[in-house]
Amino acid sequence: KNDHILVFAAASLKNAMDGVVDVYAQDHDTDVRVSYAGSSTLARQIEQGAPADLYVSANQSWMDRLEDGGDIQPASRFDLLRNALVLVAPRDSDTALELNRATDIRSVLGEQGYLAMANTDAVPAGVYGRQALQTLGLWQSLQGHIAQAEDVRAALALVARGEAPLGVVYASDAVAEKNVRVVAKFANDSHDPIVYPAALLDGIDNPAAENLLAFMRTDKAAEIFARWGFEVVATD
């Protein structure tokens, strides 16, 4: 292959991004490789001179930081995807509730139960979840009853295994996990928009990479993203 592209993408994008890249590779004489890891890990690597061409982050703050540090080409930055936040329960539980200021999550959790979330200080999904719960005024009452997992997938696993009666995860994760059931969806305005920004890295002069970035905004790509539970923000 003549062209090489290295994409740094948030780990939660793996399925979708693999699909997009596969389709892209069918039509192009390009070797595309994707390194999946936590957004923070990837951002730090980029700061340290990682040889990547593209970065797709799971949140704005790391992208902001890279932009501030001059590590990306600001002009190339755009919001690629959007996701939603949902409350899930184990598949065979009969939990039913509506999310509003009066929701009594504590009683659903019971004395011993925990609400599974990704790290609420660090991991994007956890941060969004905290915002949403705070907006609903439920955050205070849940203190001491939240199990913070390493990431969304681990939180999801806790619910899927029935360890936690409830969990806060991305809609895209809930879609594919057969052992959980979506109990409720957090209102989109209860938290910062969950967007996945993408950008070309600073100093990259790789037409193929620009090409791939453009492909991600095509309907063809959008269809694949949608299949994995993501909402496409804008297509060209």
Binding site: G38, S40, A43, S61, W62, R65, Y114, A116, N119, D121, A122, V123, I146, A147, Q148, A149, E150, A154, A157, L158, R161, G162, E163
Partner: protein
């Protein structure tokens, strides 16, 4: 520098790591003994099992623990019902994760020391009337002490540093399962958290240094009591 959270995290970590090595020591001794002494060919399978936690990504180990010992698993449920022993989301889970991850590191040096023991000295003890049990307690174990200490150091350090399996299995619950590495990880995940992370890293280093010095002093004392011509 040591705010209450740091102290809480530190003492929890020490407690978890100590529990981890203490509970795993008897089993480690038994397994090391078996591996060192048995002539059964199938012992390689046991050997492989012991080493598995080293080879598998910690997250996977944590996940398997969750599947195997979670409240909804057969074993986990039984333990919870019978002994009230719950691992998930508890410090006990963190200790268990640490114990499992440190297990191969505890077993191997003990085994190495056991294998290095001159069986003729054990025979001598037998002729003096010591049953196999007593020979083990009064001759073999004391002579294997350097290996036990080395194993404890490695396993303790590993338990102290354990992250992936712990967070997956026991989650990150402040005051219950938020050990040093998990706290460090949390800080490192947020932009600008580096300085708090660095502070905790220094605490980790200090703790491990202290543990090492202690172990070294014990080992020296043991060695002074033993051998060295």
């Amino acid at each position: 520098m040591f705010d209450t959270t740091t102290l809480e995290v530190l003492s929890l970590s020490l407690w978890v790591a100590t529990t981890a090595v203490v509970i795993s020591l008897p089993l480690a001794l038994a397994v090391a003994w078996f591996l060192a002494r048995s002539r059964w060919r199938g012992k390689m399978v046991v050997d492989a099992l012991v080493h598995l936690p080293l080879v598998m990504p910690p997250v996977v180990t944590g996940y398997l623990l969750l599947v195997g010992l979670g409240r909804n698993s057969v074993v986990g449920g039984w333990l919870a019902d019978t002994f009230g022993l719950v691992f998930a989301f508890k410090w006990t889970g963190a200790a268990l994760a640490g114990a499992i991850m440190g297990f191969p590191l505890l077993v191997r040096p003990i085994r190495l020391s056991l294998e290095a023991i001159d069986s003729r000295v054990e025979s001598a003890a037998a002729t003096l009337g010591a049953s196999p049990m007593w020979v083990a307690l009064t001759v073999t174990l004391p002579l294997a002490l350097p290996g036990v200490i080395a194993g404890l150091v490695l396993a303790f350090a590993r338990a102290l540093g354990e992250f992936g399996a712990t967070i997956t299995f026991a989650s990150n619950i402040p005051g219950e399962t938020r050990t040093l590495p998990i706290a460090i990880y949390t800080f490192i995940q947020v932009p600008g958290g580096e300085s708090r992370a660095a502070q905790l890293i220094l605490v980790s280093i200090a703790v491990s240094l202290a543990a090492l010095v202690a172990s070294e002093l014990i080992a020296r004392r043991v060695k002074r009591l033993q051998a060295a011509a």
